[in-house]
């Protein structure tokens, strides 16, 4: 129903207002005394060494690619699951083919070593 999405819009607005009110209340109630030592990034008590944004080995970009594939597959599966009980045998066969292709894809990625954490 369209009315429900109005409520959801209200949710977002109220959320934003709530966050703003709480954080500004906290800022009014508290003492703000910034100092150099306080502003340091926490690194177990010593002064931070090197740049904060280190060259980070994102060990899962292949996973991320696979995730996109499988997430879209899930999106396709939801409408199918809703109409499943109202349709004949044919939906089952179609989905078997669809899922089998995806499982093949997963098996290929597995064989190629994409699912190995490095």
């Amino acid at each position: 129903m369209p009315h429900d999405y109005v409520v959801i819009g209200t949710f977002v607005l109220v959320g934003i207002i709530f966050v703003m009110i709480t954080i500004s209340t906290s800022n009014i109630l508290s003492h703000q005394k910034p100092s150099e030592a306080k502003g340091l990034i926490y690194e177990c008590g010593v002064e931070p060494i090197g740049a904060p944004w280190v060259q980070f080995h994102v060990g899962y970009y292949v996973y991320a690619l696979l995730f996109v594939v499988f997430d879209i597959e899930t999106v396709f599966l939801y409408p199918w699951a809703i109409v499943f009980s109202r349709m004949g045998m044919i939906v089952l066969v179609e989905m078997f083919i669809f899922v089998a292709v995806l499982l093949l894809g997963l098996a290929y990625a597995w064989k190629e070593g994409a699912l190995r954490w490095r």
């Binding site: 429900d4 109005v6 409520v7 959801i8 209200t10 949710f11 977002v12 109220v14 959320g15 934003i16 709530f18 966050v19 709480t22 954080i23 209340t25 906290s26 800022n27 109630l29 508290s30 003492h31 703000q32 005394k33 306080k38 502003g39 990034i41 926490y42 690194e43 177990c44 904060p52 944004w53 280190v54 980070f56 994102v58 060990g59 899962y60 996973y63 991320a64 995730f67 499988f70 997430d71 899930t74 599966l77 939801y78 699951a81 809703i82 109409v83 499943f84 009980s85 109202r86 045998m89 089952l92 989905m95 078997f96 899922v99 995806l102 499982l103 997963l106 597995w110 699912l115 954490w117």
Partner: protein, 336 residues
């Protein structure tokens, strides 16, 4: 005017529920973990320490909001809101009883999962914006985890959707009324046990809960993505985290444990206290999360990825096919 009020009141109620949840759940966590560790947990503030978390919130409110130098300011400042708002949105579709729902969304289940997965974005913002190595590693791990477990989580409820034929959480609950042979309640946890097991594992991973709490592993990453946060900004991150476990448990209750209904009791009897039953069931679910948290050690991240991709996804896909086959064969059997 009254239309505006009608739109805003439920939302305010959701905010209030979220705050109460946060306060009660933190107290409960400390008590439950304390008991599991053979100690008492909070005792001194109020009777049995019950006012402890309220006092903690007030203390957080009066703390200085430290913004360290060198942070990515926009990301750092906005991240708590980016975590908090989706978590609040998730209350929109939870069916506390047949009529007590904030919205009557027909896509309730999918909507709740969708907004919950937005939380990961806020976590990534917090981790990147903090300019802290611990935060960055924590956020990257959280993202990896979300990526690996989002798919099994979404897939695990599909068999239930196939049986019910709707994404409306209230309809899923209604489909679970009655009993088999007069004894076993028609809850999907019995008919769909593998789906529930996978849902539980994936939900724990999505919530970054033990045994999958690598994103804020205290012993290695300080506090993960929340390391640099203080004052109410930290409060927001914390509140959202507890609220998310409430939401996840509420989904589990409505999809697998019959929502507001009780077995063997007719609906007319429990109608007046339905929301109470729903909340109690949900809190029991959270208690189980805490129990797991106090019991299991943390898994390694490669084990986590292996479990997600090589076990859970193939098993859920297989279970979906099996459910489909059984349903269709049952239909054929019924027709002939």
């Amino acid at each position: 005017m009254s239309a505006v009020l009608a739109a805003i009141l439920p939302v305010l109620a959701a905010v209030a529920l979220m705050l109460v949840n946060g306060v009660v759940l933190i107290y409960m966590l400390r008590k439950v973990l304390g008991r599991l560790h053979l100690r008492h947990g909070p005792l001194n503030v109020g009777p049995k320490g019950m006012v402890q978390t309220t006092a903690d919130v007030l203390k957080l409110l009066s703390k200085e909001d430290v913004i360290p130098t060198g942070v990515d300011r926009w990301m750092y400042v906005l991240a708590p809101a980016a975590v908090f708002i989706p978590s609040l949105l998730a209350y929109a579709a939870i069916p506390f009883s047949e009529n007590l729902r904030i919205t009557q969304l027909e896509t309730g289940l999918l909507f709740t999962f969708a907004v919950l997965s937005l939380v990961a974005l806020g976590v990534l913002m917090a981790g990147w914006g903090s300019a802290n190595k611990w935060s960055l590693i924590g956020a990257m791990r959280a993202a990896a985890q979300t990526i690996a477990y989002e798919v099994p989580l979404l897939l695990s409820v599909i068999p239930v959707v196939m049986v019910v034929g709707s994404l409306d959480l209230a309809q899923i609950v209604q489909a679970q009324s009655g009993t088999w042979f007069g004894i076993i309640p028609r809850w999907f946890v019995f008919a769909q046990f593998p789906a529930f097991a996978i849902f539980l594992i994936a939900a724990l991973a999505e919530l970054n809960q033990t045994p999958f709490d690598m994103s804020e592993a205290e012993s290695e990453l300080v506090a993960g993505f929340a390391t640099e946060y203080s004052s109410m900004r930290f409060g927001m991150l914390f509140l959202a985290e507890f609220s998310n476990s409430f939401i996840m448990s509420a989904i589990a209750v409505s999809v697998f444990f019959g929502g507001w209904s009780l077995p063997w009791v007719p609906d007319s009897v429990i109608a007046p206290i339905a929301p109470v039953i729903f909340v109690l069931k949900t809190y029991f679910g959270i208690f189980v999360f805490m129990w797991i948290r106090g019991t299991f050690p943390r898994v390694r991240i490669d084990q986590l990825m292996t479990l997600g991709w090589k076990w859970l996804i193939p098993i859920t896909l297989g279970w979906i096919m099996l459910t489909g086959l059984v349903l269709k064969l049952g239909e054929l059997g019924g027709a002939s």
